[in-house]
């Protein structure tokens, strides 16, 4: 799926993948940059990458693509960021994992298990008065299951936020910086003279 084709009313979202040095304070640098430039982080996940010493961040941001190009380039400027790339326009596998704890009576348990089955979710914990359902999928799927489970009594919810990878043999590995500048012409053709939407830091 293409992440931007979400049917929901929330503002357009973009997926940026960054490879960063695995050092203390890197997350703070990234977060500080987003805050300072006024970009809203929808979700951010970090973990090891396939390269030793490099962590991979999947950052979902609200915003028009013209603004996200700024995110990409500002991120790239951080010394600890080795690469940053907006992969939203490419075919993606995007997944998130959720653990959903719902209250249930022994009688209701069967319904919940049946619901979970439909979503290929699994019940990973069963207690006297509750179950934990684990679901894996894109956000729409998680949202849908959540909507159906809510009436049973939602006790607790945790979602990992999106992780994403480009389909096929292409990767979200570093692109040369010159590539970034080369795209400027396309951007201008696409967006006109000024980046659309007021940039939060512009003072006119």
């Amino acid at each position: 799926m293409i992440a931007t084709n979400s049917q929901h009313a929330h503002p357009p979202q973009r997926v940026v993948v960054a490879h960063v040095e695995d050092r203390p304070g890197v997350l703070a640098r990234v977060a500080s940059l987003f805050r300072r430039r006024g970009f809203n982080i929808e979700s951010l996940t970090v973990g090891h990458s396939d390269e030793p010493g490099l962590s991979r961040m999947t950052i979902v941001v609200d915003g028009q693509s013209a603004q996200v190009q700024q995110v990409e380039r500002q991120l790239f400027k951080l010394v600890d960021v080795v690469s940053a790339i907006d992969i939203s326009e490419r075919p993606l596998v995007a997944r998130e994992l959720a653990l959903i704890k719902v209250s249930c009576t022994p009688q209701g348990r069967r319904d919940i298990i049946a619901l979970a089955d439909v979503f290929r979710a699994t019940v990973v914990d069963v207690a006297d008065a509750s179950v934990i359902v684990q679901v894996l999928g894109d956000e729409d799927k998680v949202d849908a299951l959540l909507r159906l489970l809510r009436p049973y009594g939602l006790l607790e919810l945790v979602r990992t936020g999106r992780v994403a990878m480009v389909r096929g043999s292409g990767t979200s590995k570093p692109v040369p910086v010159s590539e970034i500048a080369r795209r400027a012409e396309e951007e201008r053709a696409q967006f006109g003279r000024r980046p659309d939407g007021a940039l939060p830091f512009a003072s006119d």
Binding site: A28, Q70, L78, S178, A181, R182, A184, E185, R194, D204
Partner: protein, 559 residues
């Protein structure tokens, strides 16, 4: 070879050739100060406030093109640097800042004089380090100087806990390489970008070059002159670009922006191709973005990829060191003439005043700037504060040599004028002239003590209008003459300077002022001139806040 952290730091600074440090001691940096005597090649200049140390390092960097270094203790020492660090960051000044911090096992426990200075300066440094081992000091310093002085330059902070200064480590010499996989600025532009830019420029009928600070930072003046001459392109500069293109050149058309010349703003607005050279299309230069010359094609030469398309989408970006980019561009550019376009600008210039000096015996800002220009034969390095005097100094001096106009542009930091001049004076023998506001001077005048101690021949000229002039101008024009908190009570500046052992003169008329300037010029050592100026004078022309360059006004009546 065993060395302690303090020695390793000093070895590293010496190896960098950083032989001048502006600093101020305190508890956690005592182990470092304890070792200064062992390194006589490093001169430590004791300032009187850490903000002064940061601005002095900045002024030194701007005047010399080298990396400035400053030093402070933890907590309040470090936080006092913040204004100076941010000033340098906004103007991309190469600077390395060393701070001490509390001992490692106190970090995070709110130890006495602990401040999270790496956290505080995250958004105002190009990069920063908290060095937790003595063995990591040398690589961190190496990286700090490398990052500060390459790519788009900027301040880098190195924070070192007290016990790391004391800890011993093997020191086998200063590293000669850095390994930074996330940092590799593009300096040589791609052929494709150069060719695309050249194609647009060769088709241009009314091209204009907007030259910024990058021209100075990369030392590209000669290349810029060559390009302008070959294609007969008029050159205007941003505020920080001033002196990057000689203002006595036939193709020089002054500086643009909020208080730029009228003809200059009009030329920028009527060009069909705008070539931004080492500049960032800042709002103070461009006016209201939406209405900046909507039909022009934009070519943008810059070293920072994040500047490409930040405020304007660009028709032809050329990513690289500006000097390299200009060199690459030049062979592709057709030699041509464009008398009509140049005549158009000259006509606008002829039809609109370029001189806003009022006649009379009283000292006006424009008059005083021109008098200083005359007295110094337009050769002096000028440092300014922020406000009306800063704008007059930009408009009326006529700069002909790179790095001649030193001013806080991006942050607009009042008080910059006193310590930045001090730093600039360490970079050169010829006297530095500092054009000061009576407001700004009072923010940092304690550095007169440092100036006096080092017998620096700085000429501080206070444009004493008795007001926070620029703020007063805005209250007059945009807030119904409702003056509030802008009239400045002041000390007797002459007595104040004399208390620091600095010679001082006062002038209240043009005749007296001219005599004072002559005397200052001939003076040996520092001197302060208290020049009483017209109190309620305005800077013209002006692009009102939020207006477009095409809406530049030349008097209050036009607002």
């Amino acid at each position: 070879m065993k060395r302690n952290g303090a020695q390793i730091l000093l070895e590293s600074l010496a190896a960098e050739g950083a032989n001048l440090i502006f600093g101020y001691p305190g508890g956690v940096v005592l182990p470092l100060y304890h070792r200064f005597r062992e390194y006589p090649q490093i001169k430590h200049v004791l300032v009187r406030h850490e903000q002064g140390a940061a601005h002095a390092a900045d002024g030194y960097a701007r005047a010399s093109g080298r990396t400035g270094v400053c030093l402070a203790t933890s907590g309040p020492g470090a936080t006092n640097l913040v204004t100076g660090i941010c000033t340098a960051y906004m103007d991309s000044i190469p600077m390395v800042i060393i701070t001490g911090n509390v001992a490692r096992d106190l970090i995070g426990r709110d130890g006495f004089q602990e401040a999270d200075i790496t956290g505080i300066t995250l958004p105002i440094t190009k990069h920063n380090y908290l060095v937790m081992r003595a063995s990591e000091i040398a690589p961190a310093v190496k990286e700090a100087f490398h990052i500060a002085s390459t790519g788009r330059k900027g301040p880098v902070l190195v924070d070192i806990p007290k016990d790391v200064f004391i800890e011993e480590a093997d020191f086998e010499g200063y590293p000669d390489q850095v390994h930074l996989r996330g940092y590799d600025p593009v300096t040589i532009p791609s052929d494709l970008e150069v060719e695309r830019a050249a194609a647009i420029l060769n088709e241009a009928q009314r091209p204009i070059i907007l030259s910024g600070h990058g021209t100075l930072q990369s030392g590209a003046t000669d290349e810029l002159v060559a390009l302008a001459e070959r294609a007969q392109i008029p050159v205007i500069t941003t505020l920080l670009g001033i002196s990057g293109f000689p203002e006595d050149h036939a193709l020089s058309y002054g500086f643009m922006g909020m208080h730029g010349h009228y003809f200059c703003n009009m030329a920028a607005d009527h060009a069909d191709v705008v070539v931004g050279v080492g500049m960032r299309f800042d709002d103070r230069a461009m006016g209201r973005f939406k209405d900046f010359n909507p039909q022009a094609q934009i070519i943008h030469l810059d070293i920072d990829p994040a500047e490409i398309g930040k405020n304007f989408h660009t028709h032809a970006p050329v990513l690289g060191d500006v000097r390299q980019s200009l060199r690459a561009l030049l062979p592709h550019i057709a030699s041509t003439t464009r008398p009509d376009w140049i005549r158009w600008i000259d006509d606008v210039k002829a039809q609109h005043p370029t001189d806003y000096d009022a006649e009379g015996a009283e000292v006006t800002g424009p008059w005083l700037c021109r008098a200083i220009a005359q007295q110094t034969q337009r050769k002096a390095t000028i440092v300014t504060g922020v406000g009306q005097h800063q704008m007059w100094a930009a408009q009326y001096y006529n700069y002909t040599r790179p790095r001649q106009y030193i001013s806080s542009g991006g942050l607009g930091t009042m008080g910059f004028e006193v310590p930045a001049a001090l730093g600039a004076q360490f970079a050169q023998d010829e006297p530095v002239w500092s054009i000061c506001g009576d407001g700004g001077f009072q923010m940092t005048c304690q550095e007169l003590q440092t100036v006096a101690e080092h017998k620096l021949p700085i000429r501080y000229v206070i444009f004493n209008n008795g007001y926070l002039g620029m703020v007063r101008q805005w209250q007059e024009l945009f807030y119904e003459d409702n003056y509030h908190s802008v009239a400045l009570g002041q000390p007797d500046f002459v007595k104040l300077a004399e208390a620091y052992g600095v010679t001082a003169l006062r002038a209240t008329t043009r005749t007296e002022a001219a005599a004072a300037l002559r005397e200052a010029d001939a003076h040996d050592g520092p001197i302060v001139l208290d020049i009483r100026c017209v109190e309620q004078e305005n800077v013209w022309p002006m692009v009102p806040a939020g207006a477009a360059l095409s809406e530049t006004v030349e008097s209050a009546e036009a607002l």
